[in-house]
């Protein structure tokens, strides 16, 4: 028989839950509801005149070439950031796992970038690649490659992807390393005795056993690329040049705060919400089935 602890007082459990519930309601549910409401209104910035326009704001978005561009840019951006951040972190974790001497030093150093705020990370990369002042832009130019991400959209995309991934690598690294240390030594040793080399051991034992970690990180990284990279985009390119790095979350900000187009901006955030919910559901329902726990 299942043993349950039951609260005698019927109010107490709700009281204990209240802080968390209130925070969720005030900071998540209520704003989300407001966004839903605003997305079907056409309103001037001051809130003096407001009209219900059905789904006009959404129709406008899907007929708008820039918005559709922003969708595909976001797809490219998030997949690149997640792929780069995961693969580099995995590589570093494998290397760090093998190190015998001064392992703690390497690990500590690799974790540092995570402590850097996104905007600061953006500025760091911007300074290195500034076409006029940047040391790396200068180095590239001396190699005969003309770096100017203020004009070249592909270069701008590469720059923000690298900056965003760089910041996330530490986080991924921590989880991969922890995941690897949880793999029983005996398994790997047994494989080694059977004559499997390091690469073989990695692909047949370590990597499959890491899939829960990888799956978890994939979800986190996609969400990170969708939302938390705002600071980097804002500091480095502000969505430019010519909208080449204008990812959805930046466009929401730009249209809402710079352009004061509240309805359009709210409609975009509703779509963004739907996309992230959708992605998470897909990840849990379909990809998770392939994960070995």
């Amino acid at each position: 028989m299942e043993k349950r602890v039951v609260f005698r007082n019927p109010v107490l459990p709700y009281l204990l839950l209240a802080p968390q519930l209130i925070v969720t309601l005030v900071f998540f549910i209520w704003p989300a509801f407001q966004a839903l409401k605003q997305s079907v209104l056409l309103e001037d910035p001051f809130g003096l005149r407001s009209r219900f326009v059905w789904l006009e704001n959404f129709e406008y978005l899907f007929a708008n070439a820039q918005y559709l561009d922003s969708l595909s840019i976001t797809a490219v951006f998030s997949v690149s950031v997640a792929a780069l951040a995961l693969s580099v972190a995995l590589y570093l974790a494998v290397q760090a796992d093998r190190v015998v001497k001064a392992a703690a030093v390497y690990k500590t150093l690799l974790i540092w970038p995570y402590a850097v705020a996104p905007a600061v990370a953006g500025i760091l990369w911007l300074l290195m690649f500034n076409p006029t002042l940047g040391i790396l832009a200068y180095a590239l130019r001396s190699l005969g490659y003309d770096w100017n991400h203020q004009v070249n959209g592909d270069q701008a995309m590469v720059l923000v992807v690298v900056a965003a991934a760089w910041k996330q690598i530490s986080y991924n690294f921590l989880f991969f390393l922890a995941g690897m240390q949880a793999i029983p030594r005996s398994l790997i040793e047994a494989a080694a005795i059977d004559g499997a080399g390091p690469a073989r051991r990695f692909w047949t034992i370590v990597f499959p056993l890491l899939t829960p970690t990888t799956f978890f990180l994939l979800v986190i990284n996609i969400v990170y690329a969708f939302f938390d990279t705002f600071g980097i985009i804002h500091a480095v390119t502000q969505g430019g040049p010519a909208g080449a790095t204008n990812i959805l979350v930046y466009k929401v900000f730009n249209d809402g705060f710079i352009g004061l187009d509240l309805g359009g901006s709210a409609a975009q955030s509703v779509i963004l919400m739907a996309i992230v919910i959708g992605l998470t559901v897909i990840q849990f329902r379909f990809i998770e089935r392939k994960v070995h726990y």
Binding site: D44, L48, R49, V151, G240, P241, G243, G259, L260
Partner: protein, 441 residues
């Protein structure tokens, strides 16, 4: 939207805090002034407020910096929605149409002066400055505060090295291109660059050549206006700039003032930037430089006409007690007095807003010592403004400027020709103007 609500809440909290501290401070009526002037300019703003507060004992102007222009405007609007608006809000020129449309939220300056009985003579102001902010029947809506106009800065050292006359900046675009060739031959890798590309190369380019930016007198004649910046003259100019990138006669250095380093570190010999950039350039440039008028094409329109301004004005929010507005009106009179204006103009590079302040500065001999400071004024008042050179007034222009920036970047990057890019800018811009028209009904 989520951010917007949170911002509104934050604003409300800070407003409450301000009210709390005000109760203990004094019995003076407080006038809240939210502005976007950071650094040295912010100190000047504080000086002006201090000067006013010491000049009388009834009112106290409290200046608060709320970030950059956009942040300040958004903060003001969010505060209004929360019922905690400041008395005075500084808004940049492209936000004019948005503020104008907010009937019931703002109190136009002419009305403020009438209601409070404050003496006010609109003719004392420079028309090129006030014209931008007037209704069609000549009534002033907001108080001009910091106005500037773009000029051509040039590196005198580079000119001397290239065998050019360092006292004679190029007057026309062909002369400028020839000068660029020579300075490039003298070891300066880039001919010229520009700040604020939409403001300088589209808006001021149009005014300077007396060609329209949009229909209906650049939007002054009504909300049902359309952009005309894909005219053959515009296309020719922008295509020429794009072509000039090949041999680095022209180099694009980013939006806003991001290109400044290209000039001040000696890469580009010439630079088109706001007259208010003078102080910043003086601080960072390690060479002697001068300021000339913007170049013009001899074969386009009727050039040179006059340039238009950029910068910001002070808008008055409605919804405060009548007594407060007396203080606001008194403060505006103080702000417009020749002494305050002359000092502001000389200290910052922004233009004076009254003729009296201009004359006072002349009399003080300021321009004899700083001839470059007068270039902007001469250029702006070169001719009586026409329909095309009075300014512009399009709804959603903050977003439209972004659209123009994007399309220009596509042209500089080579993915579009000038014709394609400007056509797209017009189509997208008109779309936003239509949206604004609909919103304002």
């Amino acid at each position: 939207m989520r951010h917007f609500r949170m911002m509104a809440a934050a604003v409300a909290v800070s407003a409450l805090a301000a009210v709390g501290s005000a109760g203990t401070a004094s019995a003076k009526t407080q006038i809240q002034w939210w502005h976007a002037m950071g650094g040295a300019l912010g100190e000047r703003v504080a000086d002006i407020a201090k000067g006013f507060n010491e000049s009388q004992s009834e009112y106290e102007v409290v200046p608060t910096n709320k970030g950059n222009y956009t942040e300040n405007m958004t903060a003001g609007i969010a505060a209004f929605r929360a019922g905690k608006q400041p008395h005075i809000l500084q808004v940049f020129e492209v936000g004019t149409a948005t503020m104008m449309a907010a009937k019931g939220a703002i109190k136009p300056v002419y009305q403020l002066m009438e209601e409070t009985g404050e003496p006010f003579n609109p003719d004392a102001y420079l028309t090129t400055v006030t014209g931008y902010y007037m209704t069609n029947d000549g009534k002033l809506l907001s108080m001009p505060f910091n106005s500037s106009t773009p000029v051509l800065y040039y590196n005198k050292e580079a000119f001397t090295k290239a065998g050019l006359d360092p006292t004679a900046p190029p007057k026309t675009w062909p002369e400028l291109a020839a000068a660029a060739k020579k300075t490039q031959a003298a070891g300066y890798p880039c001919g010229f660059t520009t700040a604020w590309q939409s403001w300088v190369q589209i808006e001021n380019f149009s005014a300077w050549h007396n060609i329209p930016i949009g229909t209906k007198a650049n939007g002054f004649g009504g909300l049902d206006t359309e952009l005309t910046i894909n005219s053959p003259a515009h296309v020719k100019h922008i295509q020429q700039l794009a072509d000039w990138q090949k041999d680095k006669t022209f180099v694009y250095g980013g939006r806003r003032g991001d290109s400044q380093a290209l000039f001040t570190n000696g890469e580009c010999a010439m630079y088109m930037q706001s007259s208010a950039g003078l102080a910043g350039i003086t601080k960072t440039a390690k060479f002697e430089f001068g300021a000339g008028m913007l170049p013009y094409w001899p074969d386009i329109g009727k050039a040179p006409q006059n340039t238009i301004i950029g910068g910001a004005t002070l808008w008055v929010f409605d919804g405060h007690p009548a007594e407060d507005y007396k203080g606001v009106a008194k403060f505006f009179s103080y702000l417009a007095s020749p002494e305050v204006q002359a000092e502001w103009h000389q200290g910052t590079g922004y233009l004076p807003i009254t003729r009296a302040a201009y004359d006072l500065t002349k009399k003080q001999g300021f321009y004899d010592k700083n001839p470059d400071a007068e270039t902007a004024l001469k250029q702006m008042t070169l001719n009586e403004p026409t329909e095309n050179s009075r300014g512009l007034r399009f709804g959603n222009y903050v977003q439209i400027r972004d659209v123009i920036n994007e399309e220009l970047e596509a042209i500089w990057g080579g993915s579009k020709t000038a014709q394609e890019g400007l056509d797209a800018a017009v189509a997208r811009g008109n779309d936003l103007i239509r949206k604004f028209e609909k919103e304002s009904q």
